[in-house]
């Protein structure tokens, strides 16, 4: 069976030895203890497991670790830089855009990816882009507000 022995996560090359068939999600969580990436469905339907691969949001539950190769992975743990939160993380706190917060990691990474390609999204664009993310607690409205706040701050308007 094919094995995978390293992965570039959050700017660091991590060494381990796993079956190439394991999901990226399970490797992040179980091998690297990066448990901020959540299992919500294992079916590509909820986006709780979202990570960025070369900056693009992906469902890590749907990716075999053998397929990742040298691509750069960013997880929720990799957003904070030198003790400073990413503006999207900060906005989620400031708007209190969470209840149980189980969806939060995926939401934040999804929003980070969206703001890269769409720095000034309308409400409808956010809803459209983020529609694959389930928040069963129903915090969507606040999440949209948080994304707006982050966008405003990132564009230097606040």
């Amino acid at each position: 069976m094919a094995r995978v022995t390293e992965l570039n996560v959050n700017g660091t090359l991590h060494a381990f030895d796993v079956d190439a068939d394991a999901t990226l999600l399970s490797v992040l969580r179980d091998q690297l203890d990066l448990t901020g990436t959540k299992y919500g469905c294992g079916e590509g339907q909820c986006a709780a497991c979202t990570v960025l691969i070369d900056g693009n949001p992906r469902h890590s539950c749907q990716i075999r670790v053998g397929a990742v190769g040298k691509h750069r992975i960013t997880t929720i743990e990799g957003l904070e830089k030198n003790g400073e939160l990413h503006p999207v993380q900060q906005a989620f706190i400031d708007v209190d855009a969470m209840q149980c917060a189980y969806c939060t990691s995926g939401m934040i990474l999804g929003a980070v990816a969206m703001l890269k390609i769409q720095p000034n999204p309308t409400e409808a664009q956010i809803a459209d882009y983020m529609n694959g993310h389930i928040c069963r607690c129903g915090v969507y409205q606040r999440i949209k507000e948080a994304v707006h706040l982050a966008a405003t701050r990132m564009n230097g308007n606040a």
Binding site: D30, G36, G40, T75, I108, G132
Partner: protein, 723 residues
């Protein structure tokens, strides 16, 4: 596991089921050993008080007597000044870690940051029946306020004695007691030094009235938010122990199936894998997830099954399988006046049947548990609303004593009434015992959809009459299976017959956010709308004509104003609807606008205004969050969600086949809070969900003339051509 007797035990109205767990007396310890265990300082203990009538649905009379007068929570002030609150309640996204801390900080006169909440740990916190029924705020919140008040007076008394002055000369502020003259001061921690004081809270409630609250009543963000946005918070699925194995359970081929034969040899032959069979239970544990999945797939099993019913015939089934002689505590029947007189006096009479499908809770964190078996002791971390009941379940299943079993609940990825039972904990514990190593078990989404329990489906029949003045003359209401929560009407009707009919239900069913209040409000408020139209009266006016409850009238008025009900103007394809209700101390009115695409028959909820009153508000920001969340969650049950089943199998156990509300489904939501500082505080985790579905159904009628009497209202995401 799903033994037949357990299935029947669960197939009853959930409120009773929830309360079956036998209370355990927490204090085997005397006060001295207790204080020693606490490391000295000052502890004030909360005791259950009969006066705190619980606000479960009306029929829970008698519950108070069963609640032992014993310790419910306590507050400890350590010699280093740390304030710790111990409560068996759990945090599942409803934000009580924050709101309870606010309440204590407010009454103890310390900063919010100085308070630590220890929650849901059967070893560290006193017995608690569970976190459900919106009881945390009215019950635990009230008690903790009393406890904090008592602690503050103890501290002031200690300082008075120390300085030999009258306590009236002293004030307690910011964790410090000082002389009003400003001449001297001493911190709470200094006062706690050398003390070993354990005291019961006072019998009366000498608490600060809501208008004087400083920290409570303020908008406060979720405590520990930074841990959540950085992924640092450890939910049960995120916990690890050295040498931990990953567990998987072999699920029966259908509900109620029994194991005919099983061959574990291939699984057992895999390196590092253990496989267990115990009765109908079969599970594996392996060093990693992939190996566990492969081991599970290698097991060959034969199951004996029995034919079972299907969701296609669900509502017939419920009507036909009503229990003939339900147990006394399962009954609800209330009459007033005479239905035949009432109907005779009516100028409009109406009869209609409403149905509610089975739905699933779908907490985004599926059930999970980590079990550690060491030296004859079992420790289980799991996301549950009832840590003590799950502790009992685990102990019983494994024939352990409760003392040797401990359950700890990390702050959990939500529950909505869906995590009252301990299957996952029991399964992980059984595997851990067999493996002699810690075992971690995380249910798959499919397992969560299939092997948890469901919100009860129901059939509701209403017969009613209204006179020429638009006054209700008769109201007859029969609920089959879904439950009796909020079954009584809040409208004035001189002649009534209201009855709940328990059913031998086809699926395992249990609690759900607001219980049957959702179904009962859907039927009642839809029917009120039908009556209003039959009588030719505006739906709001019709309700007001028949309503005396001041607080419900006030939320209707507040919502109507915000919504612009009087001035409303319909665009083509749009419609407006309203609904209101009362349950568990909450008063709610929901106004909705829908838009229907004539070509695709898709329904969009454009706007929802909800006015809410649950007494004095503890955390307005958290409350708004909870209310709009409940509205959003309610969209799923109103429009899309239905569990389909056939012959003991769930046919749609995936999010791809079971539509929950997503970003694009969310309307513009406006919440109007009525802060009744003259009223006790009640919870808001549940009742805000009850108005949405009927308001939407009524709006669909307004838009199309089509009366939908079923939840969910849509079929395959589309409005049916006929009801």
């Amino acid at each position: 596991m799903m033994a037949a007797d357990q299935k029947t035990a669960l197939a009853i109205e959930p409120e009773r089921y929830e309360l079956r767990g036998l209370p355990m007396h927490f204090f085997a310890m005397d006060r001295r050993s207790f204080m020693k265990a606490m490391g000295g300082g000052i502890a004030i203990l909360a005791v259950a008080k009969d006066a705190l009538a619980l606000q479960e649905s009306g029929r829970r009379i008698g519950m108070e007597e069963k609640m032992p007068r014993e310790i419910n929570a306590w507050l400890h002030i350590a010699p280093d000044g740390g304030v710790t609150v111990y409560t068996g309640k759990v945090e599942i996204g409803q934000n009580i870690r924050t709101s309870l801390a606010q309440t204590v900080a407010d009454e103890l006169h310390v900063s919010l940051a100085s308070i630590q909440m220890v929650m849901g740990d059967t070893q560290l916190t006193p017995f608690d029946m569970g976190t459900f029924g919106s009881r945390t705020t009215p019950q635990m919140g009230t008690q903790l306020r009393s406890v904090a008040w008592a602690a503050r007076s103890v501290l002031v008394d200690l300082a008075a004695r120390k300085w030999s002055v009258d306590a009236g000369q002293l004030v307690a502020e910011n964790g410090t007691v000082s002389d009003r003259s400003g001449s001297r001061s001493i911190t709470y921690g200094e006062l706690a030094q050398g003390q070993a004081l354990a005291q019961m809270m006072p019998a009366e409630d000498p608490v600060t009235p809501a208008p004087e609250w400083k920290i409570a009543g303020q908008p406060v963000h979720k405590i520990g938010a930074r841990d959540f946005v950085t992924g640092r918070h450890k939910y049960t699925p995120d916990l690890k122990l050295p040498g931990m194995l990953c567990g998987k359970i072999l699920r029966p081929s259908a509900f109620g199936a029994t194991l005919a034969s099983v061959d574990l040899s291939a699984a057992k032959a895999m390196p590092g894998v253990i496989a267990v069979r115990d009765g109908d239970f079969v599970g594996v544990a392996a060093p990693d997830e992939l190996t566990a999945e492969r081991a599970l797939a290698a097991i060959k099993a034969q199951w004996n099954t029995t034919p079972q019913s299907s969701s296609k015939e669900l509502f017939d089934f419920l009507k036909k399988n009503a229990e003939e002689d339900p147990a006394e505590e399962n009954r609800y029947r209330q009459t007033k006046g005479s239905m035949s007189d009432g109907l005779a006096a009516a100028s409009h009479r109406l009869e209609a049947t409403y149905t509610v499908a089975y739905i699933a809770h779908c907490p985004l964190e599926p059930r999970a548990a980590l079990a550690d078996w060491k030296d004859g002791k079992m420790m289980v971390w799991t996301g549950t609303q009832r840590p003590f009941a799950v502790r009992d379940e685990v102990a019983q299943a494994l024939h352990l004593s409760n003392d040797n079993t401990r359950v700890i609940v990390p702050d959990t990825g939500s529950a909505y009434g869906g995590k009252h039972t301990g299957e996952c904990a029991v399964e992980a514990a059984r595997l851990a015992q067999a493996a002699g190593k810690p075992v971690h078990l995380l249910w798959t989404r499919e397992e969560e959809f299939t092997w948890a329990y469901f919100r009860p489906a129901g059939v509701i029949e209403i017969k009613s009459g209204v006179d020429a003045n638009g006054k209700l003359t008769a109201w007859e209401f029969h609920n089959y299976n879904s439950g009796a929560a909020a079954i009584a009407t809040m409208y004035e009707a001189p002649n009534q017959l209201i009855e709940f009919h328990p059913v031998n239900a086809p699926l395992r069913q249990g609690s759900y956010r607001s219980l049957a209040a959702c179904a009962n409000h859907f039927a009642r408020e839809s029917h009120m709308d039908e009556l209003a139209h039959a009588a030719g009266v505006d739906p709001l006016e019709f309700r007001m004509n028949n309503l005396q409850d001041e607080r419900l009238r006030a939320v209707y008025q507040a919502a109507a104003e915000k919504f612009g009900w009087q001035e409303r103007k319909k665009a083509p394809g749009h419609g407006f609807g309203i609904a209101g209700g009362i349950d568990k101390g909450g008063h709610v009115a929901a106004f909705a606008e829908v838009a229907i695409d004539g070509a695709t028959r898709e329904v969009r909820i454009e706007r929802v205004v909800e006015a809410w009153d649950c007494g004095a508000i503890v955390n307005p920001d958290g409350l708004k969050n909870t209310i709009s969340g409940a509205i959003t969650m309610g969209i799923g049950g109103a429009l899309y969600e239905a569990i389909e089943f056939d012959n003991g199998r769930i046919l749609n156990p995936h999010f791809a086949q079971y539509r929950v509300a997503r970003f694009k489904d969310e309307p513009k939501i406006e919440v109007v809070l009525i802060d009744r500082k003259d009223q006790p505080s009640f919870g808001a985790g549940e009742t805000p969900i009850v108005g949405l579905a009927p308001a939407v159904a009524n709006a669909i009628f307004d838009a199309t003339g089509l009366r939908i009497r079923s939840m969910p209202m849509l079929q395959d995401g589309k409005l049916p051509k006929q009801a």
